[in-house]
Symmetry: C2
Subunit: 340 residues, 2 copies
DNA sequence: TTGTACGCGTTATCAC
DNA sequence: GTGATAACGCGTACAA
């Protein structure tokens, strides 16, 4: 077992000072050819690599990015993390991923864990618990310490920081508009409890589209489901009662469940009923029929967030005022659950 | 913006020495009541938290675990990462996730990035590129440096380290056996190119089940597909030609594609043809009909790997000889793509 | 051209 | 009881 070698070892072995070794390895001009070559050869031989921790301590820069997401089995977050990874790695940063598991407490704990020097900045999406609590003190503490923070998707106005979101209102508007343009008259909405910022925006887009087209918004056409552990019966009862000719879902999974329920009722998709969901994930793509979806461009979002964060980290000047919010355009991916 | 406070700041402010502060905050007996209380109060007020990096440097322990996986959009890896996260976090460790993107080069780069002090140990699953190259020097270097390594799922005999796998032979055997017991006579196999260790094992289980039941293994019933960018036509041509009454797929996605192709040919699942896939993911669960699958228990695998790694990290004695391989039992999840 | 000294933040040992 | 000192590994301003 050949242990990690340090500058000190090399120095002792070659009978020179540590700083000489350090300089030689950085190809400094002030070291003589011979010593330089000797040292470099030795270093290569023993595969010397500087210790990241020591460098972090010295530079006060870790080259680590902390990412806190509610979950990682959800396709959307997965793609965002991938986008972050991609950009961050290209820039020489590592990504430390923590899962809040939709819990406020875990989110706080994870943040504190990372905030004490482990990372140069945060990228995160609020947990359900945090949105519910409406308590953002842990975020505030972090930003007040001068640690850069980028929020994505599930964001809040309470915190001044960079943000990346898609235009959820527009996405829902376009989707609803498409259903209206198909001639659908009774468009149901499957959404979540109201504390989710994204659901609120999507509901808004749905309503705006109806209103703009002179259609009435009927509360009985809207089903607000708890986010966790989906209750298929609730969806089933609702859809059987409403008998809609179109359904908009604020996420992928409600859309899939809704479609199945309707099919079981003997309705044909898309002949009898059109369905559009949010999140263009694997389920939507491989459903039968495949589900028309509002793509959120998670990977792009991740890349953008990573770029914003790293730019912030690497810019000397902390110009507090200039926080930006990047708004990505959603895209309606038309598949077989709607009419051409 | 209140910057991070250090021991030095407190010491200067309270006019005591740094070591006094350090001891006071650790509630050392050798510090007087008054000073201790004064220091602790001050520390609380300014929300002092020790700097992780400095502690890492001193202890030569980072409390970080490096995880390198081929991808994170695949359900299986996602669940493993989640399992790792769960266990590691509970033990006070952070998880640094890197994606090899199935590329040998990226895997090497990521390992080197992390190996220089950033982490206490690795958990990883080999990239396709690495399995293809059959080159494991980067792993060897890491283990030779005394950095603990746990391999899961895609492992290799070339490296002596802890491992976690499921019994792939058994999983495929049981699945095939089930198809045989249903009375299926022509059981096709959708598998990948041969360099994947898991595919080899699953192929073996398939063949063993056939042989044990006195059935013939026919090469023309086996389709070996490239792993990346799935070509649906290949599957389509193959299945149209073979016309099997059952299909075993070594992963989830081939199974889904296979089912769709067969349905398009007018075959009913499971009346005319039964299908079983590997990986009990979202697609299998929500497919129509839902896909009977061999569950790999990713979360359990992740937890197990994390436990093995942390045990190793925290045990002083480096008893090289005692590397263990944990073999998890697969479970056949029966759904609607097979007959009751 | 090479070496010395110091600092990053913390802890442990030892002296007062 | 309190404080000075060294050490973790590195980089660098400054001295020789």
């Amino acid at each position: 077992m050949k242990k990690k070698i340090t500058l000190k070892h090399i120095a002792r072995e070659l009978d020179v000072s540590i700083s000489t070794v350090s300089k030689a390895l950085k190809n400094s001009e002030e070291i003589g050819r011979d010593t330089k070559e000797k040292i470099q050869a030795f270093a290569k031989l023993y595969n010397y690599k500087p210790n990241n921790i020591a460098i972090s301590l010295k530079n006060k820069r870790t080259k680590n990015i902390g990412v806190i997401v509610p979950d990682i089995v959800h396709y959307f977050f997965t793609t965002v993390v991938r986008g972050i990874e991609k950009y961050a790695n290209a820039k020489g940063y590592n990504v430390i991923v923590c899962l809040s598991d939709e819990s406020f407490d875990k989110e706080v704990i994870n943040m504190e864990m990372l905030a004490n020097g482990s990372i140069d900045g945060f990228i995160m999406s609020l947990s359900a618990g945090t949105e519910k609590n409406n308590d953002f003190n842990h975020l505030r503490e972090v930003t007040e310490q001068g640690i850069p923070l980028v929020l994505f998707d599930r964001v809040t106005d309470e915190i001044a920081c960079d943000k990346v979101v898609i235009d959820d209102v527009l996405g829902a508007y376009q989707a609803t508009k498409k259903l209206i343009d198909e001639g659908r008259k009774k468009i149901a909405l499957l959404t979540t409890e109201d504390f989710f910022s994204v659901s609120r925006s999507r509901n808004k887009g749905y309503m705006k589209a109806l209103t703009d087209s002179g259609m009435e918004i009927k509360e009985e056409h809207i089903l607000r489901l708890p986010f966790m552990d989906i209750d298929e019966d609730l969806i089933s009862d609702f859809l059987s009662a409403v008998r809609p000719d179109a359904v908009l879902s604020v996420n992928e999974i409600f859309g899939i469940y809704g479609m199945r329920v309707l099919q079981r009722c003997g309705m044909r998709v898309p002949e009898d009923v059109s369905i559009i969901g949010f999140t263009d994930g694997l389920l939507a793509k491989h459903a039968n029929p495949s589900l028309t979806s509002v793509a959120q461009h998670g990977e792009k979002m991740g890349e953008t967030a990573a770029k914003m964060l790293i730019d912030r980290v690497e810019s000397e000047d902390d110009d507090d005022a200039s926080y930006r919010t990047t708004i990505l355009e959603p895209t309606l991916i038309e598949r077989d659950s709607t009419i051409g």
